[in-house]
Symmetry: C2
């Protein structure tokens, strides 16, 4: 089933303890589109400047991503450069130039309005809400956000949360949103505020999902080297939403399967810089790693 | 099967964000004995002073713990008082009085020498080695250690590691031991240094076990409140060693089952101060929580 993603498209310069990449394709919508395309047709909304490489759009199109919603505007693409610490969950922004993303107003093409699954990547919650206004009632809406919006746009965000089905945040964001360091309590408050599920990302420790009456924890896949953590969260969301859109199975088991596929996609993308690892991935490798997650976590009855 | 534990016995004064306990029974051997007694007969070695409450020893005896190896000496029991931060993995030692533990020389009673399973709780590795010298070749030896010994007694510890089957440490200790922040690399080095398995404790994120060709990760049980983290690691080790001693099953599946029982015991003890929660626990509650771990982690095939 059709899966819409709205979010940033960027050119990133990345420094990690493993090396460096200049002008790597990035942005939440880009990572999401690459990763979700292994599961279902993707419809992408974002903004790029004159400097964005045309071959990336062609590559995405070749993977079943509809890029007609990616608006090309005069100016430069969002550019971010960042440096990760030895502890990879800490990073410094060295440089940020919003470019055409600065006054991005997501406009949903008519052909996208019937999207049954939608993911609102991390942008201003006012814009996320405007995306929902343009859709004909999707079956499932997933949503990301970040510290900045939690602190600066709280009431708009609260309004948005009442309209989304699944919130995907990290533990720090969950704490900031609720004032609770304990994730069981934080999740209960988030579920009270609107979403039917909250998926809390814990970096190298995996993910925990809280839905009423159903808690599901998945450890992260143990990797010998994480070369570049950029995009891990977006690829996680893409695996979750992509598998749900593919299967249409929103049952607890269907959601669990989707969360593991999300973990699989997050584990792959960090193996190389930017979305490079996704570009060499096959569906067979994805399913093989799914089986490795089963083996990693299997408890004898 | 008989399970020997050698370690500290203490009286702790504990302050956590949830409250306070004065002169709570503590020490690694005590926590271990309480928790392991649900699985198998336990033989306990430690030292206590005149001030140690006799009813605790009787309580342990009533639970199938042989306390004839707990040496009563003139003087005071090891006393520790500590304060935990809001982030419960950080604690300050407010006061420490080693008492009779200061020159503790573990002496293994003749009746303990045939112990088939042995756990060396965190004490000087020279003393841990001397315990092994007094045993008639146990089937499985588990071992804990801490930063202090890794830094101050490295060569003795290295010698000891060649003699143990299973090392149980936290992620910080694994990093200190190997210089690797990445747990896959750290575990590989530890397995090269002697143990056949290394179980790495990650606090609120659970445990990951590395054995050659077998990696197993278990998330922590999501608790709404952790009242007192003291003893969690010892009770984890007790569940692991206790279940292995009970079943005698050292296969990968047997080890997985044991690690989950360890996680179960660790999750219970933190629900109240000191070993209090263990004192009200039943075997049925333990098995029920084991099933909850299965439900928490179950991935649809």
């Amino acid at each position: 089933m059709s899966l819409l993603v709205v979010g940033s498209v960027a050119l990133d310069t990345l420094e990690t303890p493993s090396g460096r990449a200049d002008d790597a394709v990035g942005g939440a919508a880009t990572y999401f589109a690459y990763a979700a395309s292994f599961f279902t047709p993707v419809r992408m909304v974002g903004a790029i400047g004159d400097d964005f490489p045309a071959e990336v759009l062609s590559d995405l199109e070749g993977r079943g991503v509809d890029v007609s919603g990616v608006e090309k505007r005069a100016g430069t693409t969002l550019r971010w450069s960042g440096r990760y610490h030895e502890e990879l969950n800490v990073r410094d922004t060295l440089h940020l130039d919003l470019g055409v993303f600065g006054d991005f107003q997501p406009s949903i093409p008519d052909s996208y309005r019937d999207s049954e699954y939608a993911f609102l990547a991390n942008i201003d919650p006012a814009l996320q809400a405007r995306v929902l206004d343009q859709l004909e009632g999707p079956r499932l809406i997933g949503c990301d956000t970040m510290n900045h919006w939690i602190q600066e746009s709280r009431s708009v965000l609260d309004g948005l949360l009442k309209r989304v089905d699944m919130l995907i945040v990290n533990d720090e964001e969950a704490e900031l949103l609720t004032g609770d360091r304990n994730m069981v309590k934080a999740a209960a408050k988030i579920l009270d505020s609107g979403p039917k599920s909250v998926l809390i990302k814990r970096g190298e420790y995996g993910v925990i999902d809280f839905s009423p009456g159903n808690v599901f924890a998945v450890p992260a896949y143990p990797l010998e080297e994480v070369r570049d953590p950029t995009g891990a969260g977006d690829c996680f969301a893409a695996g979750v939403m992509g598998e749900l859109a593919r299967s249409g199975d929103l049952s607890p088991a269907g959601l669990r399967r989707a969360i593991v596929y999300g973990s699989v996609m997050g584990s792959f993308v960090v193996e190389d810089f930017g979305p490079k690892r996704l570009q060499s991935l096959t569906r067979e490798m994805i399913d093989e790693r799914y089986r490795q997650f089963v083996a990693l976590t299997d408890i004898p009855r």
